[in-house]
């Protein structure tokens, strides 16, 4: 159990003559509290894996420091950091049995044989893989490999777990149940965990807090609900949520609202609701919800938006019609219409 902290972390890679220096991680400050489940979320190439590998000690930062348990570990090799990492590929030792894989970190720590075997059995039991101990990794399914990788990480009782997209090699169905298990497993052991993913559903479901990264910088850190409801900028607003937040340009600002908050006018009970006519051009029916695509006018420039109507909204809508839609005023978010796209104070909208 320990606090993990990175301070002013910068990692540059030599991008060759054409690109000069590439800033994979560009001045990141971040703290994972003791026992916290911190998720690093971002699109591929945003530097989240590099950040994780720097915490692990597999990459040397160009500048800045990594602290584990209030000790500066920058420059120390991975083995001195008492961390465990689960790789995207699981990186099981293919020539060793499951048992030998799990005890490998203990042998490296020069633990007694009897103690080792006891611990391996404990870790295997926790993940329900006792019956696989004699097998080789290639005889295991994807889900079983993932558990072995977790058991190998767990067995040493590390200060910190680092997980690099551990679910991305599983099929969709298995991923959901593995996510569930991963969460209850961490609740049980209570070890500080840094989890890297590009999948917002994993991030939302697992994280105590989420750090959203883009181009090597942190855009926002906060609990899932805050990230979703109060995005700090347009990047977070459009990266999180499927479909993403609608952004309508108006007077150098962007007016944002989530698709599920854009509803037929009679479903928005507020005197100050913001009315906007929506010219519907397409409707998708997805797992009980109606996704209504169309162009809104009236609150700014005419913009294509999506509305997500839950099954409880029964207003008949057809493609080609124009309907009055509205958004509850509490649900509107305002951003600057520049490159940063930071949040701004609310602007007055003509109330329709």
């Amino acid at each position: 159990m320990a606090v993990v902290e990175v301070r002013d972390l910068v990692k540059q890679f030599d991008g060759g003559k054409a690109h000069g220096k590439v800033h994979a991680v560009d001045g990141v400050n971040l703290t994972a509290a003791d026992g916290e489940y911190l998720v690093l979320l971002g699109p591929s190439g945003c530097g989240k894996t590099t950040l994780l590998r720097t915490i692990a000690g597999l990459e040397e930062p160009s500048s800045g420091d990594v602290l584990i348990d209030d000790h500066v570990v920058t420059g120390l090799p991975p083995r001195a950091r008492k961390i465990a990492m689960v790789f995207q590929s699981y990186a099981l030792y293919p020539h060793k049995t499951v048992q030998a894989n799990i005890v490998f970190p203990l042998r490296a720590a020069k633990m007694e044989r009897a103690e080792r075997d006891r611990k391996a059995l404990w870790a295997a039991g926790l993940l329900g893989i006792e019956h696989l101990l004699a097998r080789k990794p290639r005889q295991l399914s994807g889900g079983e490999r993932q558990r072995v990788a977790l058991a190998r990480a767990l067995v040493r009782e590390p200060q910190v777990f680092l997980l690099d997209e551990p679910l991305s090699n599983l099929d969709a169905k298995l991923r959901a149940s593995a996510r569930d298990e991963l969460k209850s497993f961490q609740d049980e052991v209570g070890t500080t965990t840094v989890y890297v993913t590009h999948d917002q559903i994993e991030a939302m479901g697992l994280g105590d807090r989420i750090a959203v990264l883009s181009k090597g910088r942190i855009r926002q850190v906060g609990p899932p609900a805050e990230i979703y409801d109060d995005p700090a900028d347009t990047f977070v607003a459009t990266f999180i949520g499927t479909p993403p937040m609608n952004l309508v340009p108006r007077d150098g600002h962007l007016v944002g609202f989530r698709p599920e908050h854009l509803l037929p006018v009679e479903n928005v009970r507020s005197a100050e609701r913001t009315l906007m006519p929506l010219a519907v051009d397409r409707i998708e029916y997805l797992s009980g919800d109606r996704h209504v695509y169309g162009t809104v006018t009236g609150i700014g420039e005419a913009t294509r938006v999506v509305a997500r109507l839950p099954s409880t909204v029964e207003t008949p809508i057809a493609a080609g019609e124009t309907h009055d839609f509205a958004v509850h005023p509490d649900r509107l978010r305002f951003f600057a219409a520049d490159e940063e796209g930071l949040r701004t104070d609310p602007i007055r909208l003509g109330v329709g």
Partner: protein, 313 residues
């Protein structure tokens, strides 16, 4: 759209319908295989058949007519102490060289995969011995190991390990001569083994080595428990290649020592050449050469099995 019961009669497309030779895979297979089949029959199968036939005959350079001689040539070989010496030497040279080739090859492969400035220069230099023809490089070694003008002796004298006017006589002493032959074999084959092993090292997923690092394993534990077991099949392949090239080579012995001093460095292939070609006893030479066959067969089977294991994993 209306549904009709009428089926449209297919009309062949005139322009594209012609099958060219490039479309006929059966014929192409034969065409492409033919050169190697001819090569193998002419240069491997026929000479091998001839060698077996000669071994049971009395053919010699002076009397090329073929007469059946039964086991006489083998009996003569068994009675010849030089044959046993050659057989023993062949195994000693092969075994000792193989060990050094794999050990040094592994070290060199680690250097080759390391990332540093100017690594292409090192790679180029490492591969030079392998690309030089054996006969040429052996002649350079002949000078390096010369009984009087050996540069190695100069160095030893300069360092003070050798007294003034003293010489090691590298190729004149039986023990030193054998060491010299082995050294040249190792020097020649280490680059090949290094390149094979390098391919094996590069094929190990980086994740696995990193996982071992995070798991707390130091350099030697990673080397012995992760890297070496994972490249074991490739190590076996490089060892077997090293064995074949040392086992069958006669150029090094021929150029350096001519089998001397006093047949101390004679190997099967050089002895067979000496008897069959230099001595004109074609039948006797063929019988000696046949003894190379069982071991080469075993090595070939070994290589194929290892390769199959790699494919299964």
């Amino acid at each position: 759209m209306t549904v009709t019961d009428q089926r449209v009669e297919p009309t062949p497309v005139k322009e594209l319908a012609r099958r060219t030779l490039a479309d006929r895979e059966g014929a192409l297979a034969w065409l492409f295989l033919l050169p190697s089949v001819v090569y193998i029959i002419a240069l491997v199968a026929i000479p091998f058949g001839l060698a077996i036939a000669f071994a049971f005959s009395d053919v010699s350079a002076g009397d090329p007519s073929f007469d059946w001689a039964g086991m006489v040539n083998f009996a003569r070989a068994f009675d010849d102490p030089v044959f046993w010496r050659s057989l023993g030497n062949t195994f000693v040279f092969t075994g000792v060289s193989m060990v050094f080739i794999v050990l040094l090859g592994k070290v060199l492969a680690n250097i080759l995969v390391a990332d540093f400035r100017g690594k292409w220069v090192v790679r180029f230099l490492v591969l030079l011995p392998w690309t030089t023809p054996v006969a040429l490089s052996s002649i350079s070694w002949l000078w390096l190991l010369d009984s009087i003008y050996s540069p190695i002796d100069w160095v030893l004298r300069a360092v003070g390990l050798l007294g003034k006017g003293e010489n090691m006589v590298w190729l004149g002493e039986p023990g030193l001569a054998m060491t010299s032959v082995i050294a040249v074999h190792v020097w020649r084959l280490v680059p090949l083994a290094a390149v094979i092993l390098m391919a094996g090292l590069v094929a190990i997923p980086r994740d696995i080595d990193e996982a071992a690092k995070v798991d707390g394993a130091g350099y030697w534990r990673r080397m012995l428990e992760i890297t070496i077991p994972l490249v074991a099949p490739v190590i076996a392949v490089s060892a077997l290649f090293g064995a074949i090239f040392t086992f069958t080579d006669m150029a090094v012995v021929r150029v350096l020592t001519r089998g001397g001093p006093n047949d101390a460095t004679q190997v099967l292939s050089s002895w067979a050449f000496y008897r069959g070609i230099d001595g004109g006893d074609v039948a006797g030479g063929a019988a000696v050469a046949l003894f190379l066959f069982p071991l080469l067969l075993a090595v070939a089977v070994g290589i194929l099995r290892v390769v199959r294991r790699i494919e299964v994993d």
